[in-house]
């Protein structure tokens, strides 16, 4: 049993309307000093075996075909510490 984290973020050149709306709201809520907010997704994937290279490759494939939309999103795969 191991936990693999897949972080999915919009590509930098893609409009992040949601992140922008949050960033615009912050000063009104009394938070200053934030220059930008980007919002993405985080997936915690529990795999049955160990998080070896083969398993990570499998998760990467999963991220590429299902968890992320690679037309507009980038992803990173890491093993939970």
């Amino acid at each position: 049993m191991a936990r693999v984290i897949v972080d999915v973020m919009l590509k930098p050149e893609i409009l992040d309307a949601q992140g922008q709306a949050i960033a615009r709201a912050l000063p009104r809520l009394g938070f200053s000093g934030v220059s930008s907010v980007r919002q993405g997704k985080r997936f915690e994937v529990e795999i049955e075996g160990p998080a070896d290279e083969a398993a990570l490759a499998e998760v990467r494939k999963m991220a590429e075909t299902l968890l992320a939309n690679t037309v507009i999103e980038d992803f990173t795969v890491t093993v939970a510490g």
């Binding site: 309307a17 949601q18 709306a21 949050i22 709201a25 009104r28 809520l29 919002q39």
Partner: protein, 226 residues
Amino acid sequence: MSAARVGVVTFPGTLDDQDAARAVRHAGGEAVPLWHADPDLKGVDAVFLPGGFSYGDYLRCGAISRFAPLMEELIPAARAGLPVLGTCNGFQILCEAHLLPGALMRNASLHYICRDQGVVVENTATPWTADFTEGQRIVLPIKHGEGRYVADEATLAALEANGQVVFRYVGNPNGSLNDIAGIRNEAGNIVGLMPHPEHAVEDLTGAPSTDGRGFFTSILKKLVNA
């Protein structure tokens, strides 16, 4: 006697404010537009938080609206007993503002759903539901992507024990716990629900019933008699 004044709040991205105001007028009340950025309740007798996608539903539905200047006025007034009704996004805002317990999450189907929905009125001890009878089955439109009501077990048990479940779905459309379609606070003055009574007040337009009228006749009677 002047008509009872019901405030209808518009946030950026609110959609059903015009419908809500119309429903208030149809029932004989005066609809008072309230703007999110004005911290002024204009002396209204009750407040309607209509549906929509305030702030685009970004972050979480209702999460950003909750901090509007108007809410800074509304939250203490509601706690002090001002009748408040939130439908759909309005319900989500009330939960985010902690005026009502629990939260509304993505529908279990993961799809937005628009349909005519059977609902049972479970509690009539609120200023918004007095004209219904307990156990009455009504039909109202629902239209939401995030209407699945959740709360922890203790909260749910308390809601049930105190009669705070005001509406239950007939045939759960979104996976809400205990089939909950709407709830009230303990005092009963604040009610939130996912279905849209303001879309069900006229024979001509869309909805298959005029069951929504009961909400508006309830509150107006209450205000006029107050």
